[in-house]
Symmetry: C2
Subunit: 468 residues, 2 copies
């Protein structure tokens, strides 16, 4: 047998790999069931479906042998599953997931319905296929495999699976402090992230924070005719585009006073651990546009990973239907999010933005700003923790390549808070790819990655057990 270049317990790995292959049709059925729940947390019409998804997951975890609690919150309940039979001498791993998903619009752009999973070219298409049901599901299969093969887990396992990640984790945030003892862990794994590229084992050493807000501008009491009132009334659509355009200058620099005040530069160690190399042409081919956005005096991955942003996620005012309507609308709206970097405080940035809109609005236009509860700070993770080392080795065993380190532009608002409460080392990982179309039509996740993920998690659990 050829010698593997990476230290690997080939026996364990092949035992696990066989289990995965032998049970494929069974776990694929289960995954499709999980994906069929329309667990869209942001739209109240899906309330029942979100709860049905929760109930299914509770039963699934009980079947794996976990003790499962459903923690009531101000919103959707948090699932807390634990399996502590390894005992106090063994480390405890807390894994975080969410069972809610993003909305599906524009629905007409889905090739197959978002809640009727289907496989094309080895990819499973469905809302949540990656984010986060797919990533959650390979963790569940790793646990099932270990349970099935060995009858137990070599370390203590806790799972915290919430139902409000896509709307800001308000419910979980509020109960964190009172659940401090339950959540205590040596290692907190946030498994909602991605690989640097397909086939490359990767760990994420940092994610950005976030704050989101709605802005509503009001001019007249009712919609006006743009013939009679054009040139007299201040069109809220104009006020809106003016305010939104002025947020950044032509170099992509955010011009809102105070926005960058708390941003700190990367340390030398951070700079040397992470490669900011980026293939522009590959990106263009993947998304159909060149990477021309953001601050022009930073490299592309610096813009995505270590610089804060302001993005207009939605803008709407006036007529958007077929044909034309010569209207000056009474109201115009924007939905805005900022990605934040270490040392930026979401509350302060929210206040800075609110002030900007209130103060800069032209005469005749009223402004209302609503800050959403879904906010969170950025996170940085070190490379030298036993947790990071265990997952890196598991990744290298499975992919047979050196693990690469990266940052990630996305945010998991709850992650920083959860890490603090649990008191252990935080690790950020996942098998997502930038091409998975998460939060967009035709979200998908590879069958190969479901299997690799199952292996990585199962092996990481075994390695964590050996290391202590």
């Amino acid at each position: 047998m050829e010698k593997t270049p990476y230290p690997s317990n080939m026996s364990e790995k092949s035992t696990l790999a066989s289990w995965i292959d032998q049970h494929e049709s069974e776990w694929l059925d289960d995954f499709f069931t999980f994906l069929r729940f329309q667990s869209i947390s942001s739209e109240s019409s899906f309330h029942t479906e979100v709860l049905q998804c929760h109930d299914w997951l509770v039963k699934y975890l009980e079947k794996i042998g976990c003790t499962v609690e459903s923690w009531p919150t101000t919103g959707y309940p948090v699932i807390f599953a634990s399996h502590l039979k390894a005992g106090p001498k063994k480390p405890t791993l807390l894994i975080y997931h969410h069972y809610d998903v993003q909305p599906v619009d524009p629905l007409e752009q889905w090739v197959t319905p978002p809640f009727q999973p289907s496989i094309r070219n080895g990819e499973i298409f469905a809302r949540g296929a990656q984010d986060n049901k797919g990533q959650c599901f390979y963790v569940l299969q790793a646990l099932r495999a270990l349970q099935d093969i060995y009858g137990s887990f070599p370390i203590n396992i806790k799972l915290c699976i919430e139902g409000e990640e896509e709307i800001g984790s308000a419910g979980l945030s509020k109960i964190l402090l009172q659940k401090k003892e339950d959540l205590a862990a040596d290692c907190v794994a946030i498994i909602d992230l991605g690989l640097r590229k397909a086939g490359t084992p990767s760990l994420t050493l940092g994610i950005r924070g976030i704050i989101t807000l709605d802005v509503e501008l009001t001019g007249s009491s009712f919609d006006l005719h743009s013939g009679a009132h054009g040139g007299i009334a201040y069109n809220p659509n104009h006020a809106l585009v003016e305010l939104l355009a002025k947020m950044r200058n032509e170099q992509g620099k955010i011009t809102i006073p105070g926005f960058y005040d708390d941003v700190i530069p990367l340390t030398i160690e951070e700079k040397t651990t992470i490669s900011f190399a980026f293939d522009k042409e590959e990106y263009r081919q993947q998304i159909g546009a060149s990477p021309t956005g953001g601050e022009q005096d930073y490299s592309i991955l610096e813009r995505a990973w270590i610089r804060p942003t302001i993005e207009i996620n939605g803008v709407y005012g006036g007529y958007s239907g077929e044909g034309f309507k010569t209207v000056i609308p009474a109201k115009a709206h924007a939905k805005i999010s900022c990605r934040l970097v270490p040392n930026q405080n979401p509350d302060i940035i929210g206040q800075i933005l609110t002030n900007y809109f209130k103060k800069q609005a032209p005469p005749g236009i009223d402004v209302a700003v609503k800050l959403h509860p879904g906010k969170g700070k950025a996170i940085r993770v070190g490379t030298h923790t036993s947790c990071t080392k265990a997952f890196a080795r598991a990744f290298e065993e499975v992919f047979q390549k050196p693990c690469e380190y990266m940052y990630e532009g996305s945010s998991i608002p709850i992650a920083a808070k959860l890490g603090e409460i649990a008191g252990g080392e935080t690790i950020l990982l996942g098998l997502g790819l930038i091409t998975d179309q998460v939060h967009a039509p035709n979200e998908h996740f590879g069958l190969d990655r479901l299997k690799q993920g199952t292996l990585v998690i199962a092996r990481a659990i075994q390695i964590l057990s050996e290391n202590r």
Copy 2:
């Protein structure tokens, strides 16, 4: 009997007024039937309703004694009704109307459903109650009254009622030349306008032209996650607000190169005929906002009547639903209209705007511009024509006040072309008020104005007969 300060045939006026009162319940029933047709020309789902409205109107005109033709067009048919028994020695009046109406969204803001007319405080609420079914209906009642009382009309009457005014009159425009003989008239009355204020008899000496367009910006091939791509991808929403904001400077001056090139100043006579006095506080009370829009170095009514504008009638891109979605949309859209003044050519302005968007778009953003067919030049009308004089006298008789002259910021794209083809004098009038909420939720028109309008039209027809 008190002497009336305005020359008036009191006998004719009171005969007509009695007829109107006696037949009120009958014509109100008819008006409500007219209003119930959902004749929204811009939305294809209402196709059948638009045609049913056309059919009803054809029969109504036949009952009044007109010879009615339905002229096929590329879109909705044009109704042409004529009653030429007055003979060649008597003048011919051509009256223009439209039977189509604007869309009704936002539907939830209507107090009563837009196509179920209802009366509150003497006002009839329905889509089209004023624009243009109400204005058309009092003309029909004037004709019915004259026919009923005198058995005929003292002049030759033609009506041209189209079904595509709200979408730009493309169909009528294309057949105008071939219908030149049918449409020939001494006086062309465009009855789709308003009073300067409630109770003030008014004629409109000018309307603005119009050009409308859709702009679509495209970034990536699909929607992106604003965490992973924020700072890399150029968000089409940002490109859109930047392009739209840059169309005007902080003084409201349009900065698109060439936009004002063909604008000519008012003549001394025009300046002295028209009062540009404006009550800011009254306006604020009427619409709920101060008149702070447009070019700041012009007076308010100059901005509304004699200066061109650019208005964003619709803007939309990304997420607009409940909650939040951290998306960078693939596309962003705007619907834009320009009001034009005499000597500005809609085609040239359309080209100028297209060039602006194409040339100014940032790298990574593709632009598509669609010019709508609904375009038209501005119109100016003189005070000394026999037509203007007859309608001014009719207005003064009915309102017992001096007729005031005004311009109007709105556009009737077909009006300039129709006047040219008919070969006669054009007159612009109507009994609309700025508070009627045309093109907006809760459009309404006064019962009192329906009666006054009927009287004005009937008397104008009689006066035109005397004058020749």
